[in-house]
Subunit: 338 residues, 2 copies
């Protein structure tokens, strides 16, 4: 079944009655070929099932017009909106996006980066800055352009992101201003995730700023799922005194927490306030709606694509594109109960 | 910056002090190399940033150990859980998954299939059966193994899926049995989506079975987003008589509908029942929780991976793997108001 009787450029040229150079042009610079010829060639390409060979095409144009992205998860819509915008921007200039999902696993990410580089990706989008030095060594030795998104690091790499720490600090400062003294946190797993770690640091900074001991903050780290958020919330509600506000490392955890609060007979926000992070679609659709941090996912996706395309084209690109975030106040956060 | 001074197999062999054959074995059949040698070679591979060339590797092993998937969307968790299981199964046998997302666009899907085939994917996972004949022609001419998932078609292709029509018919039959006469539907966009079309057919079949006119079913087609579900629900509530049950083509639309019901001051399920489809995580976390159709996403993902791996290995694989679905009754569906 898997015969791989691969049609050649010659086959296409013969079927379309044009030169192989014209076929190449149709594939690599279609706007330089008049429409009727281009259509005839593309019909032959389709009819024969011709695909430009990676090696040959890369030699001819220096590019494969494919960009790779390795994201931590395809689940839970965290990266979905930003990746959608990233893809649309690439698609509008004829570049195909291939995505791999590492499951927050450094070894798997390294393997996927290697696979994308091996398949000839012109450039890579990676999320955040936490990864082993060996992975960065590989990227630099291969000379493959890459952009780090969803965070801002202090290395010389290209970043398109926002300040996770400062955003979390602003939100926690707001929670403190509402009179909450017993605050707890459900964080993402910080070990492999600089965004999750920075958000914890931000909450601690706000406590310090308010003259409280940051070390006293109860924190449960949980993978990003409704169920994990729900279970972590139940554990925090066992504490004495019971927290009156639970700051969650993302919206998924917060939705899980709100669900559990209801199951426990606790009113949100009268008995306990809950906050999220990301402002994904679901944040507005839970009851009560989530107070959260709005992250400009779409704008980040577009900017990351533009930056990467510039780097691949050999143009100079800004090394850092920083986006602001803002607190979206909805029903899940209120003043501390008196 | 993008110098592409690509290290060769020779470079790795020299750095590790082994033969090129040993390097090849480490990359293609690592279990056939003793651990200390393998580690030395992999250190050299990492240090040099070596990636096996697609062409060379494909020639040596006949495989690239990469599988491609083209899914309609990465958004909204519809395919997330199944794809996660698909990826884990591939990962456990050392195969890397690259995913492209077509945005329910046939032309883009065709282009992504071509890109994945051109990058040397050993096999492809595609969702559903609705796509132009030219795409199927391309797949067959290339002889690339592919599996169609999330639905069951009547072609000779390999399917791993479930009967969308029968599942929707069972759910609608349950809604009718609860005394609802004014039933409406918010469906996915059926034009490019055989799953959405089959679900509409299933609801119509249930009406026919109950002696009602299937043509009288008010249907609004909407893209799969909370907001589209919310807007479609508002439009349906304008009808006279007002529907007492709204069957939604998936859980995302249903969550949007429930949110809008609250905004309109309608109680779910006392004033209006709402049902979903898919049983994604959020279904259990909205208020009231969703009555929906449980789809075995994870088991489908695993089965699709196993089937595709068998086909790539040249083993015979079942042409159809069919999964059952079941109705999950939660708070959003109740008897029609009297």
């Amino acid at each position: 079944m898997n015969q791989h009787t691969r049609p050649t450029l010659d086959d296409v040229a013969r079927a379309a009655g044009v030169s192989t150079a014209t076929v190449s042009r149709c594939l690599n610079a279609p706007d330089r070929v008049i429409a009727p010829t281009r259509e005839r060639v593309m019909q032959a390409v389709n009819a024969l099932g011709y695909t430009p060979d990676f090696g040959g095409r890369a030699l001819a144009s220096g590019r494969t017009n494919t960009i790779g992205a390795v994201i931590p998860t395809m689940d839970n819509a965290i990266f979905a909106r930003g990746m959608q915008a990233f893809q649309e921007t690439l698609s509008s200039v004829g570049v195909t996006l291939l995505v791999a999902s590492s499951g927050y696993d450094f070894d798997r990410e390294a393997e996927q980066i290697r696979a994308l580089a091996g398949r000839g990706a012109d450039g890579l989008l990676l999320i955040g800055s936490a990864r082993p030095a060996t992975t960065y060594d590989f990227l630099r030795r291969r000379g493959i352009p890459y952009v780090l998104a969803w965070s801002l690091g202090d290395s010389a790499d290209h970043f398109v992101g926002f300040d996770n720490r400062r955003a979390a600090e602003a939100l926690a400062t707001r929670v403190i201003a509402l009179g909450h003294r017993d605050i707890a946190m459900i964080a993402g797993v910080t070990a492999m995730n600089d965004r999750a770690a920075d958000r914890v640091e931000g909450v601690r900074a706000a406590l310090r700023q308010a003259g409280r001991d940051p070390a006293s903050l109860p924190i449960i780290e949980a993978p990003y799922s409704f169920e994990d958020g729900s279970n972590a919330f139940a554990a925090l509600m066992q504490r004495v005194p019971r927290p009156t506000a639970v700051i969650c490392g993302n919206d998924i955890l917060a939705v899980g927490a709100i669900g559990r609060a209801k199951a426990l007979g606790l009113r949100v926000p009268d008995d306990v306030s809950v906050t999220g992070f990301d402002n994904i679609d679901i944040a507005a659709f839970v009851e009560p709606a989530l107070t959260t941090v709005h992250v400009p996912h779409r704008r980040m996706g577009v900017a990351a694509a533009q930056q990467l395309l510039q780097m691949i084209a050999g143009d100079t690109a800004d090394a850092r594109v920083e986006f602001g975030t803002e607190i979206v106040e909805r029903g899940s956060l209120a003043a501390a109960p008196v």
